[in-house]
């Protein structure tokens, strides 16, 4: 069992937890993920590591409440325990040698982008961050990004905070006026990452995208997380859990990944509703 030592509600649907898991804390690097189960019989869900405290032996995770498991997780408080917590899994983001990087994060994906921006800042790299949210009340980690970015552009879809529009607007503007980045690292909804790649394409800037597909074991055994890369005109199947989660954005078949992400959407909607009803009944 793994103890939750701290809980912070970042916005109405996004929660941050610090979980005691010394072995994971000791090893985890930016870009890697963990898999947890809330309780016995629970689902295994992958969540990217949002930070670690090696001395305290804790791992920070930030998640959005979207389904049954994250709903149950949101009802856990500091002092409660999680059934399982395993990691770090996947390959850490390759940061060596990067001097000037643009981080493009969307929604809860910003939680994954944050430790990468921080690591780059500590390496002495020049970090530009573009972070986007639907609206003002969903903004997270603004101060943290500000602290490690030379330039920070905060976007909201409805213009209720920061600038109005999506993340590709400032990206295109910067690239068009001749900003040179060694790498664009993008993390967020698949559709956003797809358009980040399309925005960067005419400028020939390398793009790394962090994928978060459906998975079970996270060690390469089930193959559920497979995605297709187009490598020099050839289709190649890769497993996000062991080969990723980061891939060359230009090679990813985003449309296929989006379709695969919908495999259980009906089941998930139903399960989430059931779980909410259960908690509502308990309150009564």
């Amino acid at each position: 069992m793994y103890k939750i030592v701290d809980k912070k509600v970042l916005n109405p649907t996004v929660v941050q937890l610090q979980v005691e898991a010394p072995l994971v804390a000791n090893k985890a690097k930016p870009g890697q993920f963990i898999i947890l189960r809330v309780d016995e019989n629970g689902e295994r869900i992958p969540l990217t590591v949002a930070g670690v405290n090696k001395d305290a032996g804790t791992v920070k995770i930030i998640y959005q409440i979207v389904g049954s498991t994250t709903e149950k997780l949101s009802h856990k408080e500091a002092g409660d325990f999680l059934q399982d917590f395993v990691g770090p899994l996947g390959v850490a983001t390759h940061l060596e040698g990067l001097k000037k990087v643009c981080i493009v994060g969307g929604g809860v994906g910003c939680a994954i982008a944050m430790p990468i921006a921080e690591a780059l800042y500590q390496m002495g790299a020049d970090v530009t961050s573009i972070i986007g949210f639907r609206s003002k009340d969903l903004v997270i980690l603004e101060d943290e990004f500000a602290a490690c970015s030379k330039v920070l552009r905060l976007m909201t879809d409805d213009g209720s905070y920061g600038e109005k529009g999506n993340v590709t607007l400032p990206l295109k503007e910067m690239l068009a006026r001749g900003e040179q980045f060694d790498m664009i690292i993008t993390i967020g909804p698949l559709i956003m990452m797809k358009f980040v790649v399309e925005t960067a394409r005419p400028f020939n800037v390398p793009v790394t995208a962090s994928m978060n597909p459906i998975m079970i074991d996270g060690t390469g055994m089930c193959g559920g997380c497979r995605l297709t890369l187009n490598v020099d005109g050839k289709k190649v199947t890769k497993f996000a859990c062991v080969d990723g989660p980061d891939f060359n954005g230009y090679e990813i078949d985003f449309d296929e990944a989006m379709a695969r992400g919908r495999m259980y959407s009906q089941f998930e909607r139903h399960a989430h509703k059931e779980t909410c009803n259960l908690f509502a009944k308990e309150v009564q």
Binding site: L23, V24, K27, R37, N41, G42, E43, R44, S68, T69, Q83, D84, F85, V86, G87, P88, L89, I216, D217, T219, G220, M221, C222, G223, G224, R226, L227, T228, T237, F239, V242, D253, E256, A259, R260, R262, M263, Y264, Q266, F267, E268, A271
Partner: protein
């Protein structure tokens, strides 16, 4: 001693009715009664040269345990088996006895061999039901050994070393111990309670089991040595599932057998209100002809499929699955589409409604018919495509069960660990790898094979580790 039972046929194993069991996850085979077990034991001639023992990868003293059954001393029989096997209730159920011990049985020459597997299962179940004494924990010898993976090879290695007094810790990547015995083999063939019981027996012998530790990620092999372990056994299993590389394999509704079985077994999607989803119902095609393919097909049926096909490119004679599993599958109504090979999986797309929930899901599988041509270098007749034989099989789910390739996690983080061309860990006859003190066995070495061969490898490595640390 009474005269042997000279009946040419063995006692029938009682099973659940095929039409009933095809819709539940309860065990198919129900096991011998005490009377039947004694009657079957009487068929053993107690041969002096014991050919059956030669056929057993872990060298169980077969005639000796059967003699105890004849005397009605079932616990005595158990004690004899457990000297050689750490998992008798498992082996009695999933070993391919017909190609091992039973294939060497003298009674098999003129009639059916003695039902050795059925007797082993009977003895193990009898012990688990009636003998509740904790096993005697041996005195510690002070040596620490780490075992990577809690599947059949790891559990066997751990059990053998614990019995010799070693302080053994097993590291398991998943949340439950048992490896393929819990994520792969379904409940109706090997109830999870039986695996849990065998794991519990090992714990009582002093074996520690650490779940949620991925060796190669959470800890490396080198870190295990610096933590004070003096030897490491790697039994990490087979790894990454293979796909055919045909168009449409990324469609929703296409699974690897590993994923389908893991969802059903380990994640308990077979329960009525599972938290982990799985595609249920409709028409299902399982591609492949091994035991894993049979498990996937029979699980799909029990999850509520209307129709399940096994699609295999060779003929019935070449099917690699155990005969008993194939027969059970046929009795339950699974249709075998033999000499048939998929070329493409077709998806549904509604051009009028891009939001149609069925978009992106499987609707059919395109196949070609095959015939057997010239034998290849192994003597197996090679399947050849029959021209213009293409047809479509209407299906909703496709399960690819065409083998696995080794997992690179441990190899890539263990310097000096040699692997072969296929990625399998290279070992000598004692299970020793290219690294001193590091042993390996099971599917991580051989690629996908049987539970008992993995157990055999775990046993050999345990003996070698004992010799290495006793020096």
């Amino acid at each position: 001693m009474t005269r042997p039972n000279m009946s040419p046929t063995r006692n029938v194993m009682p099973t659940q009715d095929p039409l009933i069991r095809a819709r539940n996850f309860k065990e198919v085979a129900l096991g011998y009664s005490e009377e039947t077990a004694i009657d079957e034991a009487m068929r053993c001639l107690n041969c002096k040269n014991m050919p059956c023992v030669e056929g057993c990868p872990v060298k169980i003293h077969i005639p000796e345990f059967i003699s105890k059954i004849k005397e009605g001393d079932f616990e005595g029989a158990y004690q004899i088996i457990s000297k050689s096997s750490s998992l008798p209730a498992v082996c009695g159920r999933v070993c391919p006895q017909e190609t091992q011990c039973e294939s060497k049985c003298v009674r098999g020459i003129k009639g059916e061999s003695v039902g050795i597997g059925r007797l082993e299962r009977f003895v193990a179940d009898w012990h688990n039901t009636f003998c509740l004494d904790a096993p005697v924990r041996p005195e510690s010898n002070g040596h620490k050994v780490a075992v990577v993976g809690s599947g059949p090879s790891g559990l066997t290695c751990a059990g053998d070393l614990a019995k010799k007094g070693y302080d053994v810790t097993v590291f398991e990547a998943l949340h439950t111990a048992g490896g393929v015995l819990v994520y792969g083999i379904p409940e109706f063939r090997l109830p999870k309670a039986i695996v849990a019981k065998e794991v519990d027996t090992l714990k009582k012998l002093g074996v520690k089991i650490e779940t949620n530790v991925v060796i190669g990620k959470t800890l490396t092999v080198d870190e295990l040595f610096s933590m004070g372990f003096e030897a490491v056994f790697i039994g990490s299993g087979a790894g990454l599932p293979n796909f055919m590389g045909i168009p449409g394999e990324a469609l929703n509704g296409v699974y690897s057998a590993n994923e389908f079985l893991t969802r059903s077994n380990l994640m308990k999607a077979y329960l009525s209100c599972p938290e982990t989803p799985i595609m249920k119902g409709g028409k299902v095609a399982v591609v492949g002809g091994g035991n894993v393919a049979m498990d996937a097909a029979r699980s799909a049926l029990r999850l509520g499929a209307d129709k399940v096909y096994i699609v295999y490119r060779r003929s019935m004679d070449e099917l690699p699955a155990r005969k008993e599993e194939v027969e059970h599958a046929q009795e339950e109504g699974i249709e075998f589409r033999l000499l048939c090979n998929p070329t493409e999986i077709l998806g549904y797309y509604n051009p009028d409604d891009p939001r149609d929930a069925k978009n992106g899901f499987v609707k059919a599988m395109k196949c070609v018919k095959m015939e057997l041509g010239e034998p290849d270098e192994k003597g197996r007749r090679r399947p050849v495509v029959i021209p213009d034989s293409e047809f479509e099989l209407e299906v909703d789910t496709v399960i690819m069960s065409i083998g696995t390739s080794p997992n690179p996690l441990i190899k890539s983080t263990t310097e000096g660990l040699e692997v072969n061309r296929w990625g399998g860990i290279v070992v000598n006859e004692d299970g020793l790898t290219s690294r001193s003190g590091v042993y390996a066995g099971g599917d991580a070495v051989t690629g996908a094979a049987t539970v008992i061969s993995a157990m055999g490898a775990g046993k050999i490595a345990a003996k070698a580790i004992d010799e290495f640390l006793s020096k």
